[in-house]
């Protein structure tokens, strides 16, 4: 039954999407086709699909570890940005630009920066009792401004005609794509490993079990002696590490340099992916593929039909709305009862 809600939500989102397209004067069926099928009609489309799904799945895996313990890291976007900044910094300024160590070093730098950015809210929540939702979000704004400062200031490419962007990363700092015609690159294997680690952690480890108990029944967890602060640290650091790595892979993959806009909102979309995937490793893979398709479809209809790219965010929101609502009908039995003196026409049992 847990699978039913995401499927139902996706179908309902498609229905609302059709109505929406129709109301904009576009024939719904061809538009839906252009949104959801056409992007996957070519090898390049498939490559782009996986390329965009990869960071979403990777980040969602890290976030889900925290969400399971009721640790609400919604600042993955900032951790992603810091990961991309640190990795690019290594790639741009490492003394030997041809070193084979460059990519591994960037990996470590990206992961470390993402974790460091998440460690601040973790410390503040664990030691100072500060709400991590607000802190992670504020830190996202700060990370974005920091990126803007770097690409407008000290890291701006002197040969870049004053565009706010860094120089291109050296070849040794880039993932080489599988085929020069397409952008998909081996960084996708990082995501595959992350999904496996996530599965091991949540389904096969005592620590993961303790985290789930902390989320589902905090009092029971406390009684059993599971430390809440451990769940906070692990939850936030897992999300930070995953988002930092995703930022590194993005910089060393499709981007190849930093500019003031490096993410189409992967960090926020990954939150939805984690929920659609039911905070479960394999569900997240499916959720990531769906979300990636929303991004691709949004870009596609923007180019072919001139529809605004904001549609992607609208669909993301609707999908999450429906998912949450569908849960209700699956986890509760709805029966209508005659209103008594009071007004609760919809009674749940």
């Amino acid at each position: 039954m847990r699978v039913a809600a995401p499927v139902l939500a996706s179908v309902l989102t498609l229905v609302v999407g059709s109505v929406f397209f129709a109301s904009l004067g576009h024939d719904p069926l061809p538009t839906l086709y252009a949104f959801f099928v056409e992007p996957l009609n070519s090898l390049n489309g498939l490559s782009e699909w996986l390329l965009k799904a990869s960071p979403l799945i990777l980040i969602a895996c890290g976030l889900a570890a925290g969400f399971r313990a009721n640790v609400w890291n919604i600042g993955a976007e900032g951790q992603f940005t810091m990961g991309a900044i640190a990795a690019s910094g290594v790639g741009l300024f490492w003394p030997d630009p041809e070193s084979v160590l460059l990519l591994p070093l960037m990996f470590v730098a990206g992961m470390g920066a993402g974790m460091a950015w998440a460690a601040i809210p973790a410390f503040l929540r664990a030691r100072m009792n500060t709400n991590e939702i607000l802190v992670t979000l504020m830190m996202t704004y700060i990370a974005t401004l920091f990126l803007s400062y770097l690409v407008h200031g000290p890291w701006r490419d002197p040969a870049g005609f004053n565009y706010p962007q860094t120089a291109l990363l050296p070849t040794a700092a880039l993932f080489e794509s599988f085929d020069p015609a397409y952008r998909l690159n081996p960084s996708i294997f990082i995501t595959v490993v992350a999904v496996f680690v996530m599965w091991l952690f949540t389904d096969r480890s005592f620590l993961g079990y303790k985290m789930s108990v902390s989320g589902a029944a905090p009092l029971a967890a406390r009684y059993a002696g599971f430390r809440e602060s451990a769940a906070v640290w692990i939850g936030l650091l897992a999300g930070g590490a995953a988002a930092g790595i995703a930022g590194m892979a993005e910089a060393a993959g499709p981007l190849g340099q930093l500019s003031s806009q490096i993410s189409p909102g992967y960090g926020f979309a990954a939150i939805i992916v984690a929920f659609i995937g039911r905070l479960n490793a394999f569900g997240i893979v499916l959720g990531g593929l769906l979300m990636s398709l929303l991004f691709l479809g949004g870009e596609g209809v923007q180019m072919t039909l001139g529809l605004p790219s904001a549609l992607t965010r609208i669909f993301q929101g609707i999908l999450l709305f429906f998912l949450l609502a569908a849960d209700f009908f699956i986890f509760y039995r709805v029966r209508l009862v005659r209103p008594a003196r009071d007004t609760h026409a919809l009674e749940t049992a």
């Binding site: 609400w72 504020m138 609208i314 709305f321 949450l324 919809l346």
Partner: protein, 306 residues
């Protein structure tokens, strides 16, 4: 002296959207519901109000349209959180993302031209007084409305029976339900009121403060409003003070840029966010102070039994 007047008035104006949004959220949270979607509701309010002005509607209609947009958005959240008993964090986040998308969609035809901003009032004699006039009697009507809302909400929450019931529901919906209060209906009203206030906050930004339409123009103000409620430890007067503090920070940042301080503009822009973190830490460290006015049932779904 002119600089002082500029800073003072600038502070009051910059604080106004925060006062609207945070007071609205205070009422919502006092009823035991946490709506994280303020940013989305503000953006919808901003887009609708701006759109109404560009379509030629008079200012009051436009502002009302903004408030109604906030109500409509909050209704989505209410249905999910109150009727469908979903996780309120997730529902609020969905609203934030959805509102940002819908407002960007609506706003694509607005262009980048500023509109004529909401006028300041002009009271005979008072507005022309030296010093006192510009300091107190030349703001636009929304600034005064925010203060009126502050007074009304303080009075409602702590001086009326309805306010007492609302706070009781926030403390213990079970008890309130047992006594016979319609918990869900009252929570709906609180959520819709919060939506209207967030919509007004957004409308203020787009038709009075900037007065422009830019995608995602709230730039985190909805989240800062959420932080303000925590900072204020759920008390109206402190929301007012907190909003002025943040408004002051925004203005100092602008003045700093104008004075050509040798600091990167990004650092100045980051100040409100940094400040939010710092004040949250300072307040949250003291668990007792936080717990004193904290609505005990906050963000816990409630299902009336039997």
């Amino acid at each position: 002296m002119d600089l002082f007047i500029a800073i003072f008035t600038g502070t009051v104006i910059a604080a106004t959207p925060l006062i609207f949004a945070a007071l609205g959220e205070l009422v919502v949270e006092k009823s035991g519901v946490l709506n994280l979607g303020i940013e989305g509701m503000m953006l919808m309010g901003a887009a609708l109000a701006f759109g109404a002005v560009t379509a030629g509607y008079p200012m009051p209609v436009a502002i009302l349209a903004g408030a109604l947009a906030g109500v409509a958005a909050s209704l989505l959240f209410g249905v999910l959180a109150l009727t469908f008993l979903t996780n309120q964090y997730a529902a609020g986040l969905a609203l934030a993302i959805f509102g940002s998308g819908v407002s960007a969609f609506l706003g694509r035809g607005f262009g980048s031209e500023p509109i004529e901003a909401l006028h300041g009032i002009n009271v005979p004699v008072l507005s022309d007084l030296p010093l006192v006039g510009p300091l107190l009697f030349r703001f636009d009507p929304m600034v005064y409305l925010a203060l009126v809302m502050f007074a009304a909400i303080s009075w409602f929450l702590y001086r009326t029976k309805a306010g007492l019931i609302l706070r009781t529901i926030g403390e213990s919906p079970q008890t309130s339900h047992a006594i016979g209060y319609p918990v869900i209906r009252i929570r709906y009203m609180a959520v819709l009121f919060g939506g209207a206030m967030a919509g007004l906050a957004g409308a203020y930004l787009s038709v009075a403060y900037t007065p422009l339409w830019v995608e995602n123009m709230t730039a985190g103000k909805g989240w800062i409003a959420l932080a303000l409620v925590v900072f204020a430890t759920w008390r109206p007067l402190r929301i007012l003070l907190g909003a002025w503090l943040f408004g002051g920070m925004t203005i100092l940042q602008l003045q700093g840029q104008a004075l050509g301080l040798e600091v990167p503009s990004e650092l100045l822009s980051a100040l409100p966010y940094l400040a939010t973190i710092i004040v949250l830490v300072l307040i949250s460290r003291n668990r007792q102070m936080l717990a004193l006015h904290f609505p005990a049932s906050l963000a816990k779904p409630f299902r009336p039994a039997g």
